[in-house]
């Protein structure tokens, strides 16, 4: 009994909800009618083009295919894009490691991406930007997730100008940016008042917090924030603008991830977040950190934090003690290293723990506290 023939379309779709992409692909090889049906159920499948393929072989595949892939991933393969094989609207696009010879090729791809909901780009470069004459009017009104990592600044400038419904935005710049691109990024942050997740890395951090203009204009209330930036003490203004920004967000933040040392004030503010559940802290191995009197330092106790990822390669017990002391309702945690003293401190301070991950475990006996919770990876 063939269910495709005996059940209506909407019920077969419900069956498909229980299947993953692999199962669906497997079904496509059952017979022609299954393969034709799968062409309508492509939401769990990504069309992934890698350079190892000859262009001819992909052309042949797409020529006979009845499928219009909704999710497309292209890496290291500019020929595929310039050959303009994608002629249908897609809803998620991931491209990485591509040098476009000119901006028009890039624009053509964007034209087919105007209904896109998720867009991820890493290491995209445009070799020649002067020859761009095409009128550029894509609004990306459906775009909700946008990741830009180390791309040519003209892409930031042209793409970021026109989206205002973002929920998640992650940006990492590779090189110096012209002022116009910087302004586009700032405007994007001001315009996207429904943004929930924000990730900013390195020089973008400096662009955003280099002046206090932005913190006063932002309307979004984040649930998740992640940042990495090398901020030493000389970046006093950046630090103070960043602190002011954090203060406007702490009421809603549920997840914070800070990958570099950004000063004690930042640490103090983080622990004030009333709904913070997951906290990641890295980068304590530096001169300024070593000179803080951690022994006599108390952070505000935060009872909402349940997950802590604490990565301190300096293995300083006093920093460990200060952080762990401030989150005694921890359920899950992971550390760079743990020794007997740290484990004993965890055992006496955090009674709700259910799992502990650690990269380096230094214990001097086979029988130590919390042994059954510790996983060494």
């Amino acid at each position: 009994m063939n269910f495709l023939e005996h059940l209506p379309f909407e019920i077969v779709e419900i069956i498909f909800q229980h299947l993953n992409g692999r199962d669906v692909l497997n079904l496509s090889e059952v017979n022609n009618s299954f393969n034709n049906f799968i062409a309508k159920c492509l939401n769990k499948i990504v069309f992934n083009v890698k350079k190892k393929a000859s262009l001819e072989s992909i052309q042949n595949v797409l020529k006979t295919s009845t499928r219009h892939y909704r999710h497309v991933k292209i890496s290291q393969y500019s020929n595929f894009i310039s050959s303009k094989l994608i002629t249908w609207p897609i809803i998620s696009l991931t491209i990485s490691d591509i040098d476009f010879s000119n901006f028009d090729d890039f624009l053509t791809l964007m034209m087919h991406s105007k209904f896109v909901q998720e867009m991820r780009m890493s290491r995209i470069f445009i070799l020649s930007v002067e020859k761009t004459h095409k009128e550029y009017q894509i609004s990306f009104e459906y775009l909700k997730i946008l990741n830009f990592h180390c791309c040519h600044s003209i892409i930031y400038e042209k793409i970021l100008r026109n989206c205002s419904n973002l929920k998640k935005f992650s940006i990492k710049a590779g090189s110096e940016m012209p002022i116009s691109a910087e302004n586009t990024i700032k405007n994007l942050l001001i315009k996207n008042s429904n943004l929930k997740f924000l990730e900013i890395h390195f020089n973008i951090f400096g662009i955003i917090f280099g002046s206090d203009f932005l913190t006063n204009s932002l309307k979004f209330k984040l649930k998740r924030f992640e940042a990495s930036s090398n901020l030493n003490q000389s970046f006093e203004m950046l630090r103070s603008n960043f602190c002011n920004f954090l203060l406007t967000q702490i009421d809603t933040l549920e997840e914070i991830s800070i990958h570099n040392w950004m000063g004690l004030d930042v640490m103090k503010i983080i622990f004030l977040s009333p709904h913070l559940q997951k906290l990641t802290l890295k980068g304590f191995h530096n001169y300024e950190c070593e000179n803080i009197d951690w022994e006599n330092l108390e952070l505000q106790r935060n009872n909402s934090i349940e997950v802590l990822n604490f990565h301190d390669i300096s293995e300083n017990f006093q920093i460990f003690r200060t952080v762990v002391n401030a989150c005694s309702y921890l359920k899950k945690c992971s550390f760079y290293s743990l020794n007997n003293e740290m484990i004993n401190y965890l055992a006496s301070n955090c009674s709700k723990l259910i799992s502990i991950h650690v990269e380096k475990l230094f214990v001097n006996s086979s029988d130590y506290e919390l042994k059954n919770l510790i996983i060494v990876s």
Partner: protein
Amino acid sequence: MDIDRPSDPQVSVVSSDGTMFHTTLKSILLSGTIKDMIEHIGEGGVENMGAIPLQNVDSKTLEIVIKWIEHHKDNIQPTSEEIKDKTADFIDPWDENFLEMDLDKLYNLITAANYLNIPQLLWLSTRKIAMLIKNRTPQEIRSLFNIEDDWTPQEIEAVQKENQWCEEK
């Protein structure tokens, strides 16, 4: 109408082929479709309501449906919205056993669960089909569901080639 009263009055339903079944109000309210009908009968109440005709469910299938709803009448039922996010971490062994039936019965049950709007039963029964598909080769799926292999060698080769470019999202 007060459908939350402690007693559980008798209700009758009639299948498409004219067989009458007796069950209880609590059980039959698991069907969103019948719940809507009963909420609209207004004056007279459930006690004076005649047998509910179910034009789209035959007697064999209705018997199976009634067995399921009577077993689950005291359980809290998820809505069709809630069930979308459900993960299959635990399946009640009773349900697992209940769903051991021929494919044609299972298809009829799925169609009835959809028509009667019983989200949990629809989820369980469609999952049953999905589990038959999972981890089986195309050939095994063909023989299990008696599906004709209508590929020409060129066609199947093209699909297999295309699938090499695909991965799970």
